[in-house]
Amino acid sequence: MTEGRIVTAGLMFAFFTSAVGIALIYFPEGARMLPLVVGIPGVFLSAIQLVSELRRKESKEISPEVRAGEIKMIIWFFSFASTIIFLGFTYGSPVMIAAYLHLAAKEKWYTVLIGAALAWSVLEFVFTRGIGIVIYEGIIPPMFVVY
């Protein structure tokens, strides 16, 4: 399995080469100056880092539990972001907080309910009604709820 440190260095190299390539091909002369001034040293430095990572032999072993935990957390984070995109903050946040507290943190049902209610109350009473901020409604609720 390719090590994460090599993937990270490779990603950096890919970012810089693509950014420099895009600047050279698509940007007009005036607009490409700084992206090139910054991007070209970036390509060289990230290449140096990538080569040094490829040459490095030793690597820190991480436990399979931590690796599994990382993947789970990234999936949770993705679920939070996507649920809020679809349901909005007012509905999506309590749902996801309850889901996380119940499924990931294995909390008791009353902690789950209090957590979800707290999140909804803060969003509804502090942000929407208190501060008067229009928070993101999501894609789905506006189809059913008239604001």
């Binding site: 994460g4 440190r5 993937v7 990270t8 990603l11 950096m12 970012f15 810089f16 950014a19 895009i22 600047a23 940007f27 007009p28 005036g30 607009a31 700084l34 992206p35 910054v38 991007g39 040293p41 970036g42 430095l45 990230s46 140096i48 880092q49 040094s52 539990e65 931590v66 599994a68 935990g69 990382e70 789970k72 957390m73 990234i74 949770w76 984070f77 993705f78 939070f80 972001a81 809020i84 995109i85 903050f89 946040s93 996801m96 907080i97 996380y100 507290l101 990931a104 943190a105 909390e107 957590g115 999140a119 969003l123 502090v126 942000f127 501060i131 008067g132 901020i133 928070i135 993101y136």
Partner: protein, 502 residues
């Protein structure tokens, strides 16, 4: 010196129930987040960002700065009671603070820490206030040429101070700059790196970048069990206020040390990138060197608590200076504050001295008052501080995620930011996991627009000859100096390692 403005703003701050009320909310919150290993003060500021939307700029800035300024005071609590630093800057306090607790002097160590933090914070603010009249003509003499070079200096400083990972630091600093170039080009008006998405025309906002680089990776790490903490036997013990009071008096008994380390801390705070760890360790070293009985250090010497704690808090006064007057944040925490200030409509930079002096003084006083309030509140809470061990930080993960997403959305009212923060957050976690220093990225994002705007203005005014202006030459010398210093330091470290191996 504008004494009328200086003392008028102090009077306004102290007599405004709204501002004092905000500070009374922010102080315990800041201390709590600082005291929870795995959470940290930056997350506290992150959580507060959505709440300052719609606030008056001064009120929002006071709330956030208050919270930020007391984080280190809270951070010393787990260092002293459980031997677990609340944040990186509280590591030096563990050496003697935890030893004092093991010797049965935990209350006294807490008192020394609170007292030293309070006095350090106040002296740091006074230091900043006293520099203001000296600094005003210097700041106003800066032209776009100098601001461009200052931005480059800020990034170089931070990258070269990224420990042994200088290439990684430079790469991430440059990546931050590249991210800052996303949006409409200021000279031609054409879109850059927007890939046909309108929401990217305004660029990637600082708040989203900072949240993705700090809040998200910390939550992923905490949720995957990397922040698990064992509080040991010190948990839930009760401490007496009289013991704490004895510790506070220790700060006055060692008043010369307190003054010296406050000054050292404030000066270190001025230097972008040097930050908290350096301030507390340098001052700890100074306390050892200047002591007549250095053999007591590491075994529970109260001076070993006082020195790093004064430095930790006084450096915030120094660090506010480049952030406010040059828009060059010296640390990731200051970058976060700078982003929040911009969001509130406060434009840091040289004009703040002429156009917004009231705000500058209000922030200076807020820094001082927050530190005093924090001491009072923490002393009152002393008997229950041991109960911190019962708090379960992982419970806060879903709330931090929601508020980070909310802060990101509100910063530019674009739901697409929720997608952006996911990808940047994953990148941030990879950086955290593989020891890529994240502060240079944030500083790059913050300084990118300043650098680009200043460069275009400087080129329009003087052409390439702007590099030859006297102040420009000084800044170029400083940039070269910081790189030479790094090379020298690396060679020396390698040589020392070589001696060690022999």
């Amino acid at each position: 010196m504008h004494l009328d403005v200086a003392f008028g703003t102090l009077f306004n701050l102290l007599t405004d129930p709204y501002l004092i009320g905000l500070m009374l909310i922010a102080v315990p919150l800041g201390a709590f987040f600082g005291a929870m290993p795995g959470l940290g003060g930056k997350l506290g500021v992150v959580l507060l960002i959505p709440f300052v939307f719609g606030m008056e700029p001064i009120a929002g800035a006071v709330l956030l700065l208050t919270m930020h300024s007391v984080v280190h005071t809270g951070g010393s609590i787990p260092s002293i009671l459980f031997g677990i630093p609340g944040d990186g800057t509280s590591t030096a306090v563990v050496l003697d603070g935890y030893e004092m607790t093991r010797n049965g002097e935990g209350g006294r160590a807490l008192g020394a820490s609170f007292g030293a933090s309070g006095i350090g914070g106040v002296l740091g603010a006074v230091f900043l206030g006293m520099l203001l009249p000296v600094l005003e003509p210097i700041v106003l003499a800066f032209s776009p040429a100098e601001f461009f070079l200052l931005a480059i200096l800020g990034i170089t400083f931070i990258a070269t101070l990224s420990g042994k990972n200088v290439v990684k630091g430079l790469v991430l600093g440059l990546l931050g700059l590249m991210v800052a170039f996303v949006g409409l080009d200021p000279s031609t008006g054409g879109p850059r790196y927007t890939f046909g998405h309108l929401f990217l025309w305004d660029g990637i906002d600082i708040i989203t970048a900072v949240l993705a680089m700090y809040a998200i990776p910390e939550m992923i790490a905490l949720g995957s069990g990397q922040g698990a903490v064992d509080y040991g036997d010190g948990a839930s013990k009760r401490y007496k206020i009289s013991e704490v009071w004895d510790g506070i008096l220790d700060v006055f008994r060692h008043w010369k040390l307190t003054l010296r380390t406050s000054l050292i801390g404030a000066v270190i705070g001025l230097i972008p990138g040097l930050g908290g760890d350096a301030a507390s360790w340098i001052c700890y070293g100074h306390a050892v060197q200047s002591s007549k009985t250095p053999e007591r250090f590491g075994k529970g010497a109260v001076e070993g608590v006082i020195a790093p704690e004064t430095a930790n808090n006084s450096k915030e006064g120094g660090a506010l200076l480049p952030t406010l007057f040059f828009a060059v944040p010296g640390s990731s925490g200051m970058a976060l504050l700078l982003g929040a200030f911009l969001m509130l409509g406060i434009q840091p930079g040289p004009t703040i001295v002429t156009e917004n002096l009231d705000l500058v003084w209000t922030l200076i006083w807020a820094l001082a008052v927050a530190n005093v309030l924090c001491v009072v509140i923490l002393v009152a809470l002393t008997p229950w501080l041991g109960s911190l061990a019962n708090v379960r930080p992982p419970l806060l993960i879903p709330f931090v995620l929601v508020f980070a997403l909310l802060g990101s959305y509100l910063s530019s009212a674009a739901w697409e930011n929720l997608i952006l923060i996911f990808f940047l957050g994953c990148l941030g976690y990879m950086c955290r996991r593989h020891s890529w220093p994240r502060p240079p990225f944030v500083i790059g994002v913050v300084l990118g627009p300043v650098a680009e705007d200043s460069l275009h203005k400087a080129l329009a005014l003087w052409g390439p000859s702007f590099f030859l202006r006297p102040l420009s030459l000084i800044l170029i010398a400083m940039i070269i100096g910081s790189i030479v210093f790094y090379v020298w330091r690396t060679r020396r470290e390698n040589a020392l390692e070589g001696i060690g191996h022999d």
